[in-house]
């Protein structure tokens, strides 16, 4: 079962990571430039697009959770050591690293990105 899961995760990484990165970039831009409440204004009322964004966002998280779950199942430990985790990992480490990077962008405090945006002169800050 786990081997099949790893294969699925490797294959699905391509569409999920690209779409997840785009969605997170758009959400982060809105959080930084326009405040964190009304995100992707306009798009959120176009039903098909809004659902597409939401599904992508949730699938991005689900992919990461699935990787964690597979590692836990393979190592038999809820927080495995880095060596055990690396041995158990069934996706390329760069795939996981890129996905984590996207998640980091999503969960880093907006104040950090706002500071960067201000320094770079983006979105009128």
């Amino acid at each position: 079962v786990t081997a099949r899961a790893w294969r699925t995760l490797r294959v699905t990484w391509w569409p999920i990571c690209v779409a997840f990165a785009l969605v997170v970039a758009a959400l982060t831009r809105d959080r930084v430039c326009f405040g964190g409440y009304h995100l992707l204004a306009g798009l959120d009322q176009q039903i098909a697009l809004a659902w597409g964004v939401a599904i992508t966002y949730v699938l991005g998280h689900a992919w990461l959770v699935a990787v964690y779950a597979c590692v836990v199942v393979e190592t038999g430990d809820v927080i495995p050591s880095s060596r055990a985790a690396a041995n158990a990992l069934g996706v390329a480490s760069w795939q996981l690293a890129l996905m984590l990077l996207v998640a980091l962008v999503e969960y880093a405090p907006a104040v950090l990105w706002r500071g960067l945006a201000r320094a770079a002169g983006w979105c009128g800050l």
């Binding site: 995100l39 959120d44 939401a54 949730v58 959770v65 779950a69 836990v72 199942v73 430990d77």
Partner: protein, 556 residues
């Protein structure tokens, strides 16, 4: 620790008032990010634990009697809050009075879902059982706010009993009690939806009953119980069956597809029964209002919170990933895990609809804690003793306890304050003084909570012309008030309108994100009201407006 947090902590010591403020602040700041609160606490506890071990002081395990006592205290507190709220005069949540009012309408034979062009505006997208269950209680025990709240309270208390029964079926009494206690705290972190008269309390109860049914030994019993529960859940919310996915997985794992063959027609028949058996439950109208609501888009701010709560909800499930229970329990474990994961993913997206939110995760709690119970006896000792578990478990309990406490401080102080206004007595007094006359509650921009006692008027008059939450939902979908509603004002269909005292009539505005601040009642409607009604009196909490053309003069 941010300076703001330290300041609030100092305020806590100073007075109860600031404790309330702190609870409010904590709810909004950390209560919306429970997963990150959990991670932070886990790291903090790991550091503390390491320092403790370095100091050479030995840890002391909590005695069994103390564990049982603490668990009992927590469960009793949950029951006490639920019963205290039941006895209180009034509602806390904006959907409760709507459900109580429409439940009474159902009982007296009026439609649950009125037509699109009807003068009345109270239809919602909740399924018919959301109104029929409280409607039955009102029919059995007579009209009243307590009677309307009773089914929610029963559902909330019954869920705790069922969760204990579920946990006890796979672990020891002490472990089952402990897990039930943590479940009770987690339920209290979800704004008390566990026992409010809303579909959510019934959904969680049905989800728990479905799990119990799925653990049944006989395939037919499992099929019938899970089928009935699924049918009721569809008719509470259309997303209801998603909460039954863990139970469905367990049924397949235990009894195979023959149980599914049995439960599917039972679920369909149960779901169709209100529409077929009652003339005042129209499927066409229900579907119309559902389609209207389905056009409302998604709110990504809520989506982010949903994902956070989903991750938090899955934390107690992690040990189940590596547990190896014996025999058929292992198949149950795997099936329930898959069902729960699929359900949580789907609800995270569906609950991003404006007006929804992370509270929609609550009905998954029984499945999550059942999986925790299932994994307890079959975890490897090394895992149970690992630093991750030893820091993670208390961190989860502390996070959920902090959020629940913040919720309860806000809930109890606010509810008690509103109850002190004796709103239902005020409305009942006015209704008693004007028997046989038509009257209804109107809506203003401020003090919306004063309108929460409005079912009292519906119980007396059997009429519910306007429901602000329903109008708000329609406005979000771009629907204007129909001509019949405005004409009803000119025709003085309702002789008296009562409004909270401090604001002008029908100035209520939308609180939904896309339409926030927009007036719910258009100028034309308000002008019609102003032309045909005049203010004649005040009660303790309400201003009274009477139709100018009324044949009977106003008398105190």
């Amino acid at each position: 620790l941010r300076p703001q947090a330290v300041a609030h902590l100092l305020f806590v010591i100073m007075s109860w008032q600031s404790f309330e403020t702190t609870a409010w602040w904590f709810r909004l700041t950390y209560g919306t990010r429970p997963f990150w609160l959990f991670l932070g606490l886990t790291i903090a506890l790991s550091i503390l634990r390491a320092a403790w071990r370095r100091s050479g002081v030995r840890a002391f395990p909590l005695p069994t009697a103390a564990r049982v006592g603490l668990a009992g205290l927590v469960i009793a507190s949950y029951a006490a809050v639920a019963i205290w709220y039941l006895r209180l005069d009034g509602f806390f949540d904006h959907a409760e009075p709507t459900i109580a009012a429409v439940a009474w309408l159902f009982h007296i034979g009026k439609p649950i879902y009125h037509a699109a062009d009807s003068a009345e505006r109270y239809a919602h997208i909740y399924g018919p059982f959301a109104f029929m269950i409280p409607g039955s209680f009102l029919a059995w025990f007579g009209p009243g706010l307590v009677q309307a709240k009773l089914p929610g309270t029963i559902a909330g208390l019954a869920t705790v009993v069922v969760v204990y029964r579920l946990a006890r079926s796979v672990t020891t009494t002490v472990n089952a009690l402990t897990i039930t206690a943590v479940f009770a705290i987690a339920a209290l972190a979800f704004r008390n939806l566990a026992f409010w008269v809303r579909p959510d309390s019934f959904l969680m109860c049905c989800a728990a009953v479905a799990l119990l049914g799925a653990t049944g030994r006989h395939w037919a019993v499992s099929g019938i119980v899970v089928g009935l529960a699924c049918g009721v859940m569809v008719d509470l919310k259309l997303t209801g069956p998603l909460y039954a996915l863990p139970a469905l997985g367990m049924v397949i794992a235990t009894h195979g597809w023959r149980a599914i063959v049995l439960l599917t027609p039972i679920a369909i028949a149960t779901a169709l029964s209100p529409f077929l058996l009652f003339d005042n439950v129209s499927f066409a109208n229900f579907w119309h209002w559902f389609e209207v609501s389905a056009q409302n888009g998604l709110w990504f701010h809520t989506l982010r919170q949903n994902v956070d709560w989903a991750l938090f909800l899955l934390v107690p499930v992690v040990p189940a990933l590596i547990a190896r229970p014996a025999g058929h329990l292992d198949r149950i474990r795997r099936a329930a895990l898959v069902g729960l994961a699929l359900g949580v993913v789907a609800v995270s997206i569906a609950a991003a609809k404006p007006g929804a939110g992370p509270d929609h995760m609550m009905p998954f709690l029984p499945a999550a804690f059942y999986l925790t119970a299932l994994s307890l006896g079959s975890l490897a000792v090394s895992v149970g003793q690992s630093a991750a578990i030893r820091a993670g478990v208390p961190a989860f309990v502390m996070a959920v306890l902090a959020i629940a406490l913040a919720q309860q401080v806000f809930f109890i102080t606010w509810s008690a304050r509103v109850a002190g206004l004796h709103l239902s007595d005020d409305l009942a007094g006015f209704a008693d003084a004007h028997p046989g006359r038509t009257m209804a509650m109107g809506f203003t921009r401020v003090d919306a909570h004063l309108t929460f006692a409005r079912p009292v008027l519906v119980f007396r008059t059997g009429s519910y012309p306007l429901d602000a939450p329903a109008i708000q939902e329609e406005q979000l979908a771009g629907l204007a008030l129909p001509a019949a509603t405005i004409r009803a004002m000119a025709d003085c269909t309702t002789e008296f309108w009562l409004f909270p005292k401090v604001d002008l009539p029908f100035t209520a505005t939308s609180i939904y994100p896309f339409t926030a601040g927009d007036p719910l009642f258009p100028d034309e409607f308000r002008q019609m009201f102003a032309a045909h009604y005049h203010r004649v009196d005040d009660t303790a909490n309400f201003q009274v407006w009477q139709c100018r053309d009324s044949r009977q003069a106003f008398a105190r």
